[in-house]
Assembly symmetry: none
Homo-oligomer: 133 residues x 4
Amino acid sequence: MNTINLEQAEKMIAAAKAKAKEIDTKMNISVVDAGANQVAFVRMDGAWLGSADIALKKAKTARFFDMNSGEIGKLSQPGESLYNIEHSNGGLISFPGGIPVTNDDGTIVGAIGVSGSTVNDDHTVAKAGADAF
Amino acid sequence: MNTINLEQAEKMIAAAKAKAKEIDTKMNISVVDAGANQVAFVRMDGAWLGSADIALKKAKTARFFDMNSGEIGKLSQPGESLYNIEHSNGGLISFPGGIPVTNDDGTIVGAIGVSGSTVNDDHTVAKAGADAF
Amino acid sequence: MNTINLEQAEKMIAAAKAKAKEIDTKMNISVVDAGANQVAFVRMDGAWLGSADIALKKAKTARFFDMNSGEIGKLSQPGESLYNIEHSNGGLISFPGGIPVTNDDGTIVGAIGVSGSTVNDDHTVAKAGADAF
Amino acid sequence: MNTINLEQAEKMIAAAKAKAKEIDTKMNISVVDAGANQVAFVRMDGAWLGSADIALKKAKTARFFDMNSGEIGKLSQPGESLYNIEHSNGGLISFPGGIPVTNDDGTIVGAIGVSGSTVNDDHTVAKAGADAF
């Protein structure tokens, strides 16, 4: 298995939704596969409309570079080595909330992106989703 | 209730997936709310990658004009009254597979879009999803 | 005076709205100035969401080529001289509903675009707006 | 009532225009509904052409995240938690001038965006429009 399938994506989304409710937030949640193509997406009732695109872009950013989206953001600051990398790929999102997902043999098979609250909350919910893989 | 919520969208997607399996197809399925913003999306395993965007555009097209996407396509043919309307709104998809969803009092509250097989199959699966609302 | 000002645009929109109500339709109405930049826009309650972009594109198309949008559509058909011209300018709309507006000395000073019903209705409402200039 | 209608949008725009004249500025003013779709727009005579798109993007940004556009801008600075969020949703505008609009029961039903002067003036005019709701 080299890529996330729909059953796994739905399991990840269910876990992320449960965590979002537990911490009393409303999230947009996106899962992409090894090809950085979206497998599944949900917007929880009342979640920010603008966070749908951000959730997807966080997931894509995490898979595009095989690291947490927030790691890219450290390098994209003024004066840093990847300054304004967000202009590539139709728009990256480089703050926390995007996490790559790895299978048992260490291969990255996709990513999850979450948006709708503080970046700490977004990352917490994304991690709950990633851990459910 | 004036717009589709996530629970309803998930119920619609579950019904659409069941129908897709019943007729042995692999589909991308998208549900948008009354504002034409995506609420939920799934790509079934092995479904065409290019159909993800098409499913969303079919759902949007159905809500943008409050009719089945295929109705737009009849009018957008060469020589017909809406020729090349597809160039609007960042790209419409005007063949069958997008269906608006109406609540009990006749208000259109969203739409479903399905892509991944023949347009007849796409419409059949979208209808199963819409009927589950 | 070489371009439509806001007072004139609002007068045109008021006349177009009145005509739309008279013929029992719900329209999106856009007015652009001599530079093809939007001066004013309204979406009547219940009008198609997808027609907002179309109304603007009809107005722009009419001003881009200083003729009714539907005239472009005759030339953009398969085999005709401007086949698929709709791909230019970020998307044209070439069916009726866009009308250029001319001042007393024959100078084109802007255009109006209307979308929301049949193309005949769209043109009728656009003409009512243009005549109010 | 869950979304701004045209009569309300026109009332908001009239109030915003009056305020713009009072403080001797020329503004672009946009109102979006609960689905972040534009309901009405005006560009006052002599207002900056480039501010039309900014007014719309400010209104959308305010509705996308249910807060004043300037609040997003505080968080999107270098080193802050939402750095470069402007790359999402086809382009956000994150400086002041976009304000969400809330109905009596606390539901956000749309937003207004204003652009054409200093951001303080833009915000003042947007507030006059929002208060007229």
